[in-house]
Symmetry: C2
Subunit: 402 residues, 2 copies
């Protein structure tokens, strides 16, 4: 529940409830299937203006959920914050803080004294929105791998349907990091008349081949675990924790830079005296750290959601989807102002991807800012370098005409 | 068996047999245990001089074996060559070529018209040398995870015992890439009076923390596979192919650079028309490539050997082992001339490691050359950039006083 001190911390949105809404219409998916019913888990921070023109949608990354800011009203099970430092994550977990709490609140980057911020758990998620662990009405059993394969565009169409039902027809901004940034681009392309600005951080128009490969390896680790059972592990008393743990370790490594790992762990051993010549025990601190990351993750996250979301983010490719292979063609209809932020040490979503996007938008005469922050923590910078992102985002949003 | 054309190819050592020798004495290991009996699988290329002063020992990397050059006299099961391009590997496999055939032979970097080249399968291996798949005389069953945990120094002590029994007391050079280079350093430190020169390619004095982590993840993938059965899978009809496949994919990715993956695969799809919205099928060419790599590897390599060898190479740390944390102190007794070759795009064994070694040797007044080759293929460069390494190595060895 959080301590009173934490609850009244300056800049906090306070204690928040996750809310739920059932969509009245089926969602039409890229794969050709329809999904119905669809429930959306969401949170809101700040106050909707009378003109309903101050809404910012924030979109989470691969392993997030709707709890983006403030203290959860529910006792925290484990953190949803994906930052680097274990200490940070543990602290966040113990207080039930949202994954982007440093960026959303009074006076923060996404200033809740000015904006009404909405955060949803994405389609296919395991944080309350309909996903593979939800019950398939056709069978009365959880979907498992019968859940339709979804795209980032599907996630965004679902958000649009949800917002429409909520009475929000226009967004002052869509913002997110990593996969969250991909959703922002989809918004700008699918609904150019409904989005005034997008903020895409540590993101790209298409995951580079190395990222496609790391994601494929993580998925193979899950599907190769016999406890995955072809995706139908719900209710069996077994789930693919071993494979999911390896998937998380792989993913986690790709979020960190060699330098940040070196600075934090070096080659320090767990036991001061020397190596112990064991085959399976962690002997290096970094081995132990990775195992703890894996153990925490498998307790809080559904393996099928990981598979579906990973698949969607590797499919995502604006040039292929909308431009016949040409990025600039894909962006022709964008009317939103665009802020791109990238990090020098991010080798999973390297700055080159943001720069390509910026070049393509500029070639079309679209308003775009691309900022590359020199920081050493890899992809995780997007959750760690809040102090340097904040003025960039505040400045960008302050030029909004509301 | 190779075609006649291949057998008579210029620069080939021709058809070779793997030979075997049983050590007469037990090997004393760093973990405190002794190992006996120990069998060594080895091959030789060239002719031993009367003075027995022209011997070069080549040491293989994580997944290699004794078959370093020429055509195997046995029908090839699968390649031992760890190069990048699938085409190369397939060609190598179909002809049974050794993993360093481009570097060993008449007129090549390790010139068999001048040197007598010896290649052994390392201790713990699965290519004929005693390892975890060998029978434990105490039980009559394969060791499995009862095999002692070994170090790179143990591998080198075993090589020394083998060479002594072969009648070779002095080496003109020890050479290897990656883990093979680590063995060369151990030779120079453990037996300074017996080694005239070392050639360490794409290697280091201690794996950097990111490399320690990737190795830990690969081992976790294997030991987390229930088919591993605590290491006692021999004879059960099941083996940890799924976990081993993931381990191989992880390892393989760390050998390649983002650029080489991009150049080779980009984001090309398997099927020309579009994505097919499948959860588990490979849809990108790179996904298919990784699965083929995994499938080939699990057929030819023992999972326990992978675990033990990976453990040894993460333990390896010259400063910790021999210098109380100071690299220069560890290298004090080295008398061998040293050639270090590193590759600009190798992020697993970055050039900085070779440069640290060179600086430490120079600070002690030891003869050392450090060459950094600008090449885009990552760690795999050591097997691919043969043309540029050859003159460096030939020139270095030509200054040998024999």
């Amino acid at each position: 529940m959080g301590t009173p001190a934490a609850r009244t911390a300056p800049g906090s949105v306070g204690t928040v409830d996750t809310q739920f809404m059932d969509l009245s219409e089926p969602v039409q998916l890229d794969c050709g299937r329809q999904l119905h019913p669809v429930r959306i888990a969401y949170e809101t921070y700040g106050t909707l203006s009378l003109a309903r023109d101050n809404v910012i949608l924030v979109c989470h990354a691969l392993s997030g959920d709707a709890h983006a800011a403030g203290l959860s009203s529910k006792p925290p099970v484990a953190s949803t914050r994906d930052g680097f430092a274990a200490e940070d994550r543990d602290r966040s977990s113990s207080q039930g803080l949202g994954w982007w709490d440093g960026m959303i609140g009074p006076g923060k980057a996404f200033d809740t004294e000015r904006f009404f911020v909405i955060s949803t758990n994405l389609l296919g998620g395991c944080g309350g929105t309909t996903g593979p662990s939800s019950v398939d009405p056709a069978t009365g059993q959880p979907y498992g791998s019968n859940f339709p394969v979804i795209s980032v565009a599907d996630m965004v169409r679902t958000q649009r349907a949800f917002l429409g039902q909520l009475g929000v027809d226009r967004l002052a901004a869509v913002a997110g990091g990593s996969l969250g940034g991909m959703q922002a681009f989809e918004w700008a392309i699918l609904y150019p008349d409904r989005v005034d600005a997008i903020v895409a951080i540590a993101s790209t128009h298409a995951l580079q081949p190395q990222g496609v490969a790391w994601n494929a390896i993580a998925r193979n680790a899950i599907t190769g675990d016999p406890a995955w059972q072809g995706g139908h592990y719900y209710g069996t008393g077994r789930k693919p924790d071993a494979g999911m743990g390896v998937a998380r370790m792989v993913g986690h490594m790709t979020y960190l830079s060699a330098k940040s790992l070196g600075d934090k762990f070096d080659r320090r051993l767990q036991f001061a005296e020397d190596v112990r010549y064991t085959l399976t025990e962690p002997e290096f601190e970094i081995e132990n750290y990775l195992r703890r990351q894996a153990d925490t993750f498998v307790r809080r996250f559904d393996a099928n959601t990981y598979l579906y979301t990973s698949r969607a983010l590797t499919y995502f490719d604006l040039a292929r989807q909308y431009g016949n292979g040409r990025l600039a063609d894909a962006l022709q209809n964008v009317s939103a102002r665009t802020l791109l932020i990238a990090f020098s040490s991010d080798w999973l979503y390297p700055p080159a991807g943001s720069e390509e996007l910026a070049d393509a938008l500029r070639s079309l005469g679209k308003p775009v800012e691309c900022r590359v922050i020199d920081a050493p923590y890899g992809h995780d910078c997007f959750l760690l370098e809040e102090a340097r992102q904040t003025p960039m985002i505040r400045d960008f949003l302050s030029r909004q005409g509301i």
